[in-house]
């Protein structure tokens, strides 16, 4: 076992974990006041659901030995059977404990379905959402991650480069987001009512946490504290910074202002784009990838208004388009001899296969949920705010009047029950 690598991967896992709350804030600030908590919860619930799935069968389906054809892992490690603290992943002298690897990979499985939630803000039943991510993670994420990252996975064997998840995470989530947004339909008042972000500082906080955590996401994917990890970390920083500049420049030219939301969004677009490619390019490649991602994603978020689908928080414009940019550009900009037309073809094969699989399966799954238990909140719930409808809470208390307390705590438990003033004689 390699102690340095183990420490690095464990710390990276913790960094990636922070991305999910970061995403929650990034998305949470972008919605209206009445659904801010629901937006946070749609990310947070993934930390619970997917952690459980991972132990039950997720790890086994993803990183178990292939069942044949490179499509899925076997069931050997269901319930984490056969995995001890002493079990190792990788070749000596670089090997790390399987549990460190599994924890790191778990965080990827957690954030990917959470990313989808941005497409369906403000309008889904929370229970239906929890069911959706349970099934989606099982039938879409686990297989796709197996294809891309497991040594026997069919895309891995075709030498598709997806260093840290541009394909398995971002294209995958982006395509699913588009499918679910199409099944659910638009928010009531889309393109008519103002749907301004309710808290841009929260969005900035979220994007900052994402940026920070992304060092674990990207560099940690080297699974070793080595030069590849350092290159990846460095390129992550450069591409992200440049993408922010690209987005802001585009906005200034098109819309006349350097917006805060643009800075936050540009940074995330850069993070997405450098994810598949960062280990294979140098700093100049990172600058190109960042710039292209910033400008193109900034343009892409306007597509929903032109095409008329309501991907509320631009999962398509940022994650699908950003993921495609990084995944395809690695075929052009790779410096370690793997670039060129042949690699570009392989990258396109990986990107579009995953896009198609995720879109089709997600669409069917969302439709099934919709016709059985109902996916979309009722009109009243949506208009009144899904925070109140599904969480019995509101994010902010703006008013000093209008509330009244009604305790639901049983009063008959003795000491804490309110008591009458006793033994006090009152004059008539």
């Amino acid at each position: 076992m390699n102690g340095a690598n183990t420490a690095f991967v464990l710390i990276s896992a913790a960094l990636v974990m922070l991305m999910t709350p970061g995403l929650a804030f990034f998305y949470g600030g972008m919605v209206r006041v009445k659904s801010a908590l629901n937006m946070l919860m749609m990310s947070f619930i993934s930390l619970g659901v997917v952690s459980l799935l991972w132990v039950l069968f997720g790890y086994s389906l993803t990183f178990g030995d292939d069942i044949g054809g490179g499509l899925l892992g076997n069931l050997d490690h269901i319930g984490f059977q056969g995995i001890e603290p002493t079990s190792l992943w990788g070749e000596k002298p670089d090997a790390i404990p399987v549990l460190a690897f599994a924890l790191f990979q778990l965080m990827f499985a957690v954030i990917t379905p959470a990313l989808i939630s941005g497409a369906v803000a403000d309008r889904v039943k929370f229970g239906a959402w929890a069911l959706f991510i349970t099934v989606w993670t099982t039938i879409v994420y686990f297989p796709v991650a197996h294809w891309v990252w497991q040594a026997d996975g069919w895309l891995f064997k075709k030498e598709v480069i997806d260093f840290a998840g541009g394909t398995a995470v971002h294209i995958n989530a982006g395509a699913a987001g588009l499918a679910v947004a199409l099944v659910l339909g638009k928010r009531i008042g889309f393109k008519k009512d103002p749907m301004r972000p309710h808290n841009l500082p929260l969005v900035m906080l979220g994007s900052g946490l994402l940026w920070f955590g992304w060092f674990g996401f990207n560099a940690g994917s080297a699974l070793a504290a080595n030069g590849t990890a350092a290159n990846m970390a460095f390129n992550t920083q450069v591409a992200t910074g440049v993408a922010m500049l690209g987005w802001l420049a585009y906005e200034r030219i098109r819309h006349g202002a350097f917006t805060t939301l643009g800075a936050a969004s540009g940074a995330v677009a850069g993070l997405v784009a450098i994810t598949p490619s960062g280990a294979a390019v140098n700093a100049w490649g990172a600058i190109v990838i960042g710039l292209v991602a910033g400008v193109v994603c900034s343009w892409a978020v306007s597509l929903k208004y032109k095409l008329g689908y309501d991907d509320s928080l631009d999962v398509v414009g940022v994650h699908l388009v950003g993921g495609l940019i990084g995944t395809l550009l690695v075929g052009v900009l790779a410096t370690d001899g793997v670039g060129g037309a042949a690699q570009l073809g392989k990258q396109a094969l990986g990107a579009f296969t995953v896009l198609l699989y995720s879109f089709v399966v997600s669409w069917i799954l969302a439709k099934l949920i919709d016709v059985t238990i109902g996916f979309r909140a009722s009109e009243d719930e949506e208009l009144g705010g899904i925070d109140q409808a599904f969480h019995a809470e509101t994010a902010y208390d703006f008013s000093a009047v209008g509330g009244s307390a009604r305790s639901t705590v049983p009063a008959a438990t003795g000491a804490s029950a309110p008591q009458k003033p006793h033994n006090k004689k009152v004059d008539a």
């Binding site: 301004r196 098109r254 202002a257 917006t259 978020v301 631009d314």
Partner: protein, 112 residues
């Protein structure tokens, strides 16, 4: 008696309060308000989507005065509220039939 009502830019509130105090006004009521005049609102941009924000924040200041002070007081408020830029607001006065100080029951001018 007259009720002077001013709907003005929030950042002029301190100036107006000071001017009213200098004039001798003892009390006033301030309410947060929103609205627009001929200038309408402003435009905000979120990921390229432009939103016209029609109703812009204002404060509504209300002061009760005796009839003979009303015109002068309107002038005082207008002077303190003016920035010369669009959206400075409006001031008006209306007659008031009666006013009562709740604590003492005094009525009319004594209640001011």
């Amino acid at each position: 008696m007259k009720l002077i009502t001013a709907v003005v830019k929030p950042h002029r509130l301190d100036e107006i309060k000071e001017a009213l105090q200098a004039f001798g006004v003892q009390g006033l009521t301030v309410t947060e308000a929103s609205g627009y005049g001929r200038q309408r609102g402003h435009t905000e941009v979120y990921r390229g989507a432009e939103y016209t924000v029609d109703l812009v924040p204002k404060v509504r200041i209300e002061v009760l005065v005796e009839d003979e002070d009303a015109d002068d007081l309107v002038d005082v408020v207008v002077k303190a509220a003016r920035t010369g830029k669009i959206g400075d607001g409006k001031v008006w006065s209306v007659p008031v039939e009666t006013a009562v100080r709740v604590r003492t029951g005094e009525r009319g001018p004594d209640a001011l």
